[in-house]
């Protein structure tokens, strides 16, 4: 059905479409508001359509691939496989929603052209990351992501934002250097590192074991910065000064997910799960993930700002992905991978809601949430659904993750993982339930009125985005058995690694 020509063009097009959008947005300038909105939405729509198209192509058994020899012997490879589609479809979908939300959120604020320009460049990087077919290409887009998210973090230009930007760069650029060192070393050993299920390095003999361990540590450190693994997570809570759509983006789709996705690629497609176990790296990685899960949750308990609490919650939740991958086996791996989507959708809902609280009601701290259920019922409902999902209560997406992670861990004989999951669920409940109690059970303070929005369209766009993602987080749990649900998709991927 698809011609070879299309097979080459598709992965490239899906990356480039946002570059074109970014150029138009930058060139159009600040004043052409309508043009900017149209370009944003059209580009996000085209991108989503392209990802669906590529997804169907992959489903039909084709593998769209674009190759370009950028340096002698060094290829830029964009390659679509099932795992790419998982991340790409998540990005494309949430991007569409976030774009709508961001347009409404930033309606009256300055520098929108700059914001949406970098916003588009940022999605370019995530698309490149999801489609990257070898470690070199992956690294290129990984660094590009750093570069394109920094302007978003410092967007407001306040001293706090600039300080957050500095901290962000310090962490991510240092991580990038470690990543680069690892890539370089690995290329020196193996020649080329294409992503292949089961890994490409098992051919290297026993004598390279120590080097491979060191490289693994370097790469995990480089990727762990973006995935916010403890102790490399410091930038994430600080970056909370960014506008809510940016936080939503950093947490749910772009940065931390790029880190988590990198770790999936590293374990499954570069080293291969078996080699990782042989090198004795499985347990350290599991422990790192488990520590991060518990640490993040404990720190979240102590935060009085809503966004910071959510940030530490992200630190904790993203490590579920890493834990699943490190545990191995069909079920746990699937549980980890599906959390890529589940956490994304739930966390973006939470940030959308937090944004609405902050923008329309001026509520930024936990203790100000009293009676929010009366003041902004729809938003509060969405927030509650996502929070319950984070704790892992059915029928929201988070439950699917924990179920698969837990049963998977038992299946491969790692019962202690279940203890970590239960501890984390308890901690999640401890830091989310008081919020829900304030929202629904406490009467609003006298004088606190209903939400004030800038206009009707903004109101619908802001709350509507949250409603859409909240519904999605329920839908993907209820329809988990459907042929095209994230879970089925992930089980398909995982069965390739663990037949």
């Amino acid at each position: 059905m698809t011609t070879p020509w299309l097979n080459q063009a598709l992965p490239l097009a899906v990356v480039l479409v946002s570059v074109v959008a970014a150029v138009i947005i930058f060139a159009a300038g600040e004043e052409r508001r309508l043009l900017r909105i149209v370009v944003n939405l059209v580009a996000a729509g085209i991108k989503f359509a392209l990802v669906v198209w590529i997804g169907l192509t992959v489903l039909a058994g084709n593998a769209p691939e674009f190759r370009y020899e950028i340096l002698p012997g060094q290829e830029l490879v964009l390659h679509a496989d099932a795992l790419s589609i998982l991340f790409a479809s998540l990005s494309a979908l949430l991007w569409l929603v976030t774009t709508i939300y961001a347009i409404a959120y930033l309606e009256r604020s300055p520098n929108r052209a700059r914001f949406f320009g970098f916003f588009s460049l940022c999605v370019t990087s995530t698309m490149g990351i999801s489609m990257a077919g070898n470690l070199f290409t992956f690294f290129l887009f990984y660094e590009l992501l750093t570069l394109t998210t920094w302007p978003l973090v410092v967007h407001s230009g306040t001293p706090q934002a600039l300080a957050a930007g500095r901290s962000y760069l310090r962490y991510t650029l240092t991580g990038g250097v470690l990543f680069l060192a690892g890539v370089l070393w690995l290329y020196g050993l193996a020649g080329s590192v294409e992503f292949t299920p089961g890994g490409t390095l098992s051919g290297l003999g026993e004598e390279y074991a120590i080097q491979l361990r060191v490289i693994f540590v370097l790469l995990v450190a480089g990727m762990g910065v973006k995935a916010a693994l403890v102790p490399l997570h410091g930038w994430l809570p600080v970056a909370m000064v960014a506008p809510a759509p940016v936080s939503a983006l950093l947490h749910a789709v772009a940065v931390v997910k790029a880190g988590a996705f990198a770790l999936i690629r590293l374990v499954e497609d570069v080293y291969g799960f078996e080699l990782m176990c042989e090198l004795g790296l499985q347990l350290p990685l599991m422990l790192l993930a488990a520590t991060t899960i518990v640490f993040g949750s404990v720190r979240a308990l102590q935060q009085s700002s809503i966004k910071r609490r959510l940030a530490y919650s992200t630190v904790s939740q993203v490590s579920y992905i890493v834990l699943g991958i490190a545990t191995g086996g069909l079920l746990a791996t699937a549980g980890g991978m599906v959390h890529l989507v589940n956490q994304g959708i739930m966390k973006i809902t939470l940030f959308f809601c937090a944004g609405v609280f902050g923008l329309a009601l001026g509520v930024n701290r936990v203790k100000e949430l009293d009676g929010m259920g009366y003041r902004a019922p729809w938003t509060s409902a969405c927030f509650s659904i996502a929070a319950i999902g984070m704790i892992g209560v059915p029928p929201v997406a988070g439950f699917v993750t924990k179920w698969y992670l837990g049963s998977g861990a038992l299946a491969v004989g790692q019962p202690w993982v279940v203890a970590v999951l239960i501890t984390s669920a308890l901690l999640n409940a401890m830091y989310f339930l008081p919020l829900l109690k304030r929202i629904w059970l406490v009467r609003p303070a006298p004088g606190a009125g209903p939400a004030e929005y800038l206009g009707r369209i903004e109101h619908v766009a802001l709350v509507g985005s949250a409603v859409v993602t909240a519904s999605l987080s329920v839908a993907i749990a209820l329809l988990a058995a459907h042929r095209l649900s994230p879970l089925s998709w992930v089980l398909r991927i995982a069965s390739e690694y663990f037949p």
């Binding site: 020899e69 950028i70 340096l71 002698p72 060094q74 700059r114 690294f139 290129l140 887009f141 660094e143 590009l144 750093t146 570069l147 920094w150 302007p151 410092v154 967007h155 230009g157 306040t158 934002a161 600039l162 930007g165 500095r166 760069l169 650029l173 240092t174 250097v177 680069l180 060192a181 370089l184 070393w185 290329y187 020196g188």
Partner: protein
């Protein structure tokens, strides 16, 4: 066909004479015509180098010890193209500034053409003495051009550059004399019989060149000179003319370096120190042009990494970085010049809101800055990757760390500028741009910055050219 090689030097020289002889109202037009014309000769020259590897020419058919021998290889061609691009972009800026009526235009245009001519002549020389003449000419013309800024700090900087440049020349010339005494030949080629040079001569020549190339700690003249020079002059000096000495250093090193000495280590260590010192100094400068100038100190150190890493691949990487750095650095100097003229100041603290007031300049600074940091997908990443690969293969850990560190340190000063220009809350009432630069001047700088980025996505042709240039001593 070797006429093409002659054209590279004689066309700008002819334009120079024409500018001197014709009435001053034609100066600008003639200069532009000359600078547009000579790069045309580069096209057949590039084709020839690609076909044959190197092109040589003995002027007037005199054999080399007496006459002037010229030789062009891949590295020369790449540097000549860079010179063409930067000189043209600088001319666009200078054309708006040194219009025929302005005082100083009479001296500026001949000097500007002479700098281009001297750079080309030095780049193509095939023997040590012609190289000396070219380098000396570059120094003298640069001094005069810096002095055209016509204020006390500029004159002081020019004087300092003159004295140190002379000192460098003296060292170099002493070395050349000793070489001639020992071998009876000045050819810039593998010495007959493969005998290594006397190390005194080598060290003398290298020291001289290191002064001219501003290798730490002999860089003291650079920040003031580049910082005070008019923008286009700073751009051409930092991108090409000042790098001729560095290219000469590479060539001489790889031709004459003795085996088994600690010299590569020493030069590498100086390079590493330059990277650290230059970047740290750039971080604390209060004026944009001085930030860019100190960045040059660091980048020269980076480019010295090829000496300890001696290998064709490293040479390719360094050559590529020379080109990319030239684009980026010239773009930054031109943008800084536009800012300085438009706002009357280039103090870093006064640059807030630049992305609103001068969006093209802010964009140029951002692109060029990111290129200097060496982040993908810019050209800066390609050269860095090549050098890193070599460093890894040779287990040159110190150089590996220096190269990685260089990226981080340059990020520190580049992002400081970007945060200030684009993301700092604007001071009230500073929205006005007193003297908006001509659009062409802004675009010229932007175009150079774009070249530095785009070449990173299509590095193939340049790398292939540079592969032809791997010097004899490297294997």
């Amino acid at each position: 066909m070797t006429n093409a090689l002659a054209g590279v030097v004689f066309v700008p020289m002819a334009a120079l004479f024409a500018v001197i002889l014709l009435p001053s109202r034609y100066s600008r037009a003639v200069a532009i015509a000359g600078l547009l014309l000579w790069p045309i000769f580069l096209i057949p020259l590039t084709a020839m180098v690609r076909a044959e590897g190197a092109v040589t020419l003995a002027l007037g058919n005199w054999p080399v010890p007496l006459g002037i021998g010229w030789r062009v290889d891949g590295l020369t061609v790449v540097t000549l193209w860079l010179n063409a691009a930067v000189a043209l972009a600088g001319t666009v800026r200078a054309a708006g500034f040194f219009d025929p009526e302005r005082h100083g235009a009479r001296t500026y245009w001949p000097l500007w053409l002479l700098l281009v001519t001297a750079t080309n002549a030095a780049l193509v020389s095939a023997d040590l003495f012609n190289l000396y003449v070219g380098l000396e000419l570059i120094t003298l013309v640069s001094v005069a051009l810096i002095a055209t800024a016509d204020n006390v700090p500029a004159l002081r900087a020019a004087m300092r550059y003159l004295l140190l440049g002379m000192l460098g020349s003296l060292f170099y010339l002493l070395g050349v004399g000793m070489v001639y005494g020992q071998t009876g030949s000045l050819a810039l080629a593998v010495p007959a019989g493969g005998a290594a040079l006397d190390s005194t001569a080598l060290v003398l020549m290298l020291t001289g060149l290191m002064v001219k190339a501003a290798v730490f700690p002999l860089h003291v003249w650079l920040p003031d000179s580049y910082g005070q020079a008019p923008g286009p002059v700073g751009a051409l000096l930092a991108a090409v003319a000042g790098k001729v000495a560095l290219v000469a250093l590479w060539r001489i090193w790889f031709l004459f370096a003795p085996d088994d000495t600690a010299l590569p280590w020493l030069i590498g260590a100086l390079g590493s120190a330059a990277v650290v010192y230059g970047s740290l100094a750039a971080m604390v400068q209060t004026r944009l042009k001085r930030v860019v100038a100190y960045s040059s100190v660091a980048q020269v150190g980076f480019l010295l990494m090829v000496v300890p890493l001696a290998s064709p691949a490293a040479f390719q990487g360094a050559g590529f970085h020379l080109l990319v750095h030239g684009f980026a650095k010239a773009a930054m100097f031109l943008a800084a010049a536009n800012i300085l003229i438009a706002l009357g100041t280039d103090a870093v603290g006064r640059l807030s809101g630049l992305d609103k007031r001068m969006p093209l300049e802010a964009f140029t600074l951002a692109l060029a800055g990111v290129t200097l940091v060496g982040l993908p997908p810019t050209g800066g990443f390609i050269g860095k990757w090549k050098l890193l690969e070599v460093a890894w293969q040779q287990a040159g850990w110190a150089w590996l760390i220096t190269i990685l560190l260089s990226g981080l340190l340059s990020a520190a000063y580049v992002f400081r500028i970007l945060a200030m220009t684009c993301f700092h809350p604007r001071h009230s009432g500073s929205r006005a741009v007193p003297r908006k630069p001509p659009l062409a001047a802004s675009l010229a700088a932007l175009l150079l910055a774009l070249c530095g980025v785009v070449i990173g996505m299509f590095p193939g042709p340049v790398l292939r050219l540079l592969a032809l240039a791997a010097p004899g001593g490297v294997s």
